[in-house]
Amino acid sequence: MSTPTRTPTGAPRELAGPTTGGVGANAQRPDAALKVTGEFAYGSDLWTDDMLWGVTLRSPRPYARIRSIEIGEALAVPGVHAVLTAEDVPGRNVCGLELSDQPVLAEGVVRYQGEPVALVAADHPEIARQAAKKIRVDYDVWEPVTDPMAALGHPTWNQVHDQPAEVSGLSRESAPIHPDGNLVRHLKIRKGEPAPTADVVVTGEYTVGMQDQAFLGPESGLAMPAEDGGVDLYVSTQWLHVDQKQVCAALGLPLEKVRLTLAGVGGAFGGREDLSMHVHACLLALRTGRPVKMVYDREESFFGHVHRHPAMMRYEHGATREGKLVHVRCEIYFDGGAYASSTPAVVGNGGTMGIGPYVVPNVHVDAYGVYTNNPPCGAMRGFGSVQAAFGYEAQMDKLAAALGMDPVELRCRNAMELGSESPTGQIVDSPAPVAELLRRLEAMPLPPEHGAGTAPDLRDLPGGVGNTTHGEGVVRGVGYAVGYKNVGFSEGYDDYSTARVRLEVIGGAPAVTVHTAAAEVGQGLVTIEQQICRTELGVDEVVVHPKDTGVGSGGSTSASRQTYMTGGAVKAACEQVREQLFGLAQQRLGRTVADLRLEGGKVVSDRQGVLGALADILGDEVIEETVEWRHRPTEPIDPEAGQGFAHVQYAFAAHRAVVDVDVELGLVKVVELACTQDVGKAINPEAVIGQIQGGTGQGLGLAVMEEILVKGGEIRNPSFTDYLIPTILDMPPMRIEVLEYPDPHAPYGLRGVGEPPTISSGPAVVAAIRQATGRALTRVPVRPEYITGT
């Protein structure tokens, strides 16, 4: 091996040329071109020559015993290849994300409207649908349990006053929906004095309706029977490995016979964390020996995934005359519906973060997750924190009014900061710029008022071109809110992600392949993976391997965790590859060189400059490393006082909303939403902005538009005609400031980004409407009649 002919001492950076598209750059998504040409394959686009279509027959009743199921007539329909019921589930007929409590196909009883009862596979989707209608299910209908407080035998609140109303006749013993009773989880926090006294006390009761994730690409996938008796499932999902485990258990197959690959995902937001058609398609494929595709339509999608938990909350806030919080008491009921899904974690978040990012010496929290016969609820962006923020931020405004203090000032006086103690006794050990987020919002200019004297553009007014007002009766309000959320899995959960990184020479140039099972659902993780590889290995060409179970778990694409966790795993795997490469480089050079790094496809030493091209050093060698990476451990909180190091990281965002309200008709127009968020380090700044904009929109939706209307356990509006999500006309311009205070415990100092903007935007909008109308508005979504008082 020849030694380098020169040993330059200066400016190796320029010699090497920078790597582009690394950490901190606005790299473009690798799948964008496919998505704009229509070539990107979502689960619903998959197709094979001989495939069948599967459909699900669902229960029309929220609660009933199944007396009998007759499938003969359906099976006789020409073109039908299989009709399956619970009897045909070869393994354990049970699944569930945190608790295994949900049948794959109903067995003896249905506990919610829409529960899967039977499956049909046929040549054409319409044949399958028609055949499903010929399945005769005889139901013995029971009275559904629909009130979460009643389900626990707790007194129901009267939503106006503080005295308890009558105790319901139902009790945990008399109406258990599941064998162990209707309580899924009760979280208690007892911190400080049990009976503190405060100068000023305000109380309030608040209700949050049921929100839908409303991802645009409905549930879909394709199951292919394999020659080894197993099955290959291509599916749009959030966590391949947790799916795999549940599918295996239901099919009675070992892990290696059930292989999952991520199909293109049309949005998720929590709604794909539980199984949908996964087991069903596999059952049909294994029974028929043919590939089976299942795609939900929009109506079925409303029944086919969990929703955001509706919540009922009661708060008491006490403060000194100077505006220092003395105590907060709160009770929160999360209606989990018929099956647990992620209710325990929702209770954990809603409870531990239920009073907001404030420092309070005395805290008393009871958070409950409850089984009812309502639609099952589980993960949705910001879960637990989103609901609680409507309560605690309304209370902060109410308290500010009682104190005669500016609402932002009150928040800042009590804001959590680095070194603060959380309600669970955890010391906040990374930056928590809560006050700065609010002050920055306050300093932003307000949007101009409608021009005096000139007629306003109708499109800028509540009601829009509906021509409901020309400005008369329109009052403008401004509201602030701040929120926070844990990043990653908490309370002692062994949270990890796996990354495999491979470096080799392809066509004379170094190339990296990064393989993880972490789901890309639209947020841009694939871009982040590429960026980290580029930065760590100094190679431009990075291929993202399809996401599948051929590599270890990436954990869930939820809890704002993937950039942190899978990003951390990719970084760690790159570091190991790099170490090996440096070993190889020194071997080839025949000497030891300190300060080696990789940049622009070259091995560089700070002191000696470019030592050689990566491609030359690597030659035919292939370096591949697989790393399982964990965040620092958290602890379970103790069951009596709720104390413990529960969360690995907090993420904070704040919003200011400016809203025009037609106080006569109750119509609102959000004029502007400004957001400040600390992201630690923006790995891809434009993608961060995209998350803030999208998350803000979902918060606005919950505040004024979106609710799954449930009556007697039945969904009344399962369509985009009746369940309205924000359109481009509903979304205002946004002013955004991103702060980057690094978290010393996180890779690159980054903080999870996806959820915080969904937490504070809605409460800010409602605060603005309150300011404009003077109304209490204790229930969201705010409806026109709450504003007009009719």
Binding site: R29, A32, V36, Y42, F215, G267, Q693, P726
Partner: protein, 160 residues
């Protein structure tokens, strides 16, 4: 029944089409053009938007039979050759694509807007795209993309 139409400039025929099938279904499942998306099948989301004789329509609401003999252009037919159409390119560059499920419909609708209006105002863009739902982006970057595309398409390319 048999249905014949021109799709993205090519004569296409589909056999055994059922009465109830929509144009969207025939494009996606019978002609191998899954670019147009089905997110509601009720005319509420715009994901299925295609040109039918130069007019953007929700193909989920058009019966397949109504497409007979007509000219259909889908997202797969926007680009001329291997290069992206300026509207597609702008969506990529502006970061207007997250999950991308809304994108095909938005591209066709934007293409139609810019065919009639060279430099639409923000209010005009919002009105034109009001029928296209996007759950991921909050629409801001979609607006950016449309403005970018409008700018580029309005300025004639400089000669070599």
């Amino acid at each position: 029944m048999r249905i014949q139409m021109t799709v993205n400039g090519v004569d296409r025929t589909a056999d055994d089409v059922w009465e109830g099938e929509s144009l969207l279904y025939v494009l996606r499942e019978r002609m191998g053009l899954p670019g147009s998306k089905n997110a509601c099948e009720q005319g509420e989301c715009g994901s299925c938007t295609v040109y039918l004789d130069e007019v953007p329509v929700c193909s989920c609401l058009v019966a397949a039979g109504q497409g007979r003999g007509r000219d259909v252009r889908t997202v797969e037919g926007l680009a001329d050759g291997p290069d992206l159409h300026p509207v597609q390119q702008a969506f990529v560059e502006a970061g207007a694509v997250q999950c991308g499920f809304c994108t095909p419909g938005l591209l066709v609708q934007t293409h139609a807007l810019l065919a009639t209006s060279q430099r639409p105002s923000d209010a005009e863009i919002r009105e034109a795209l009001a029928g296209n739902l996007c759950r991921c982006t909050g629409y801001e970057k979609i607006l950016d993309a449309v403005r970018l595309a409008a700018d580029r398409m309005a300025v004639p390319e400089a000669g070599p």
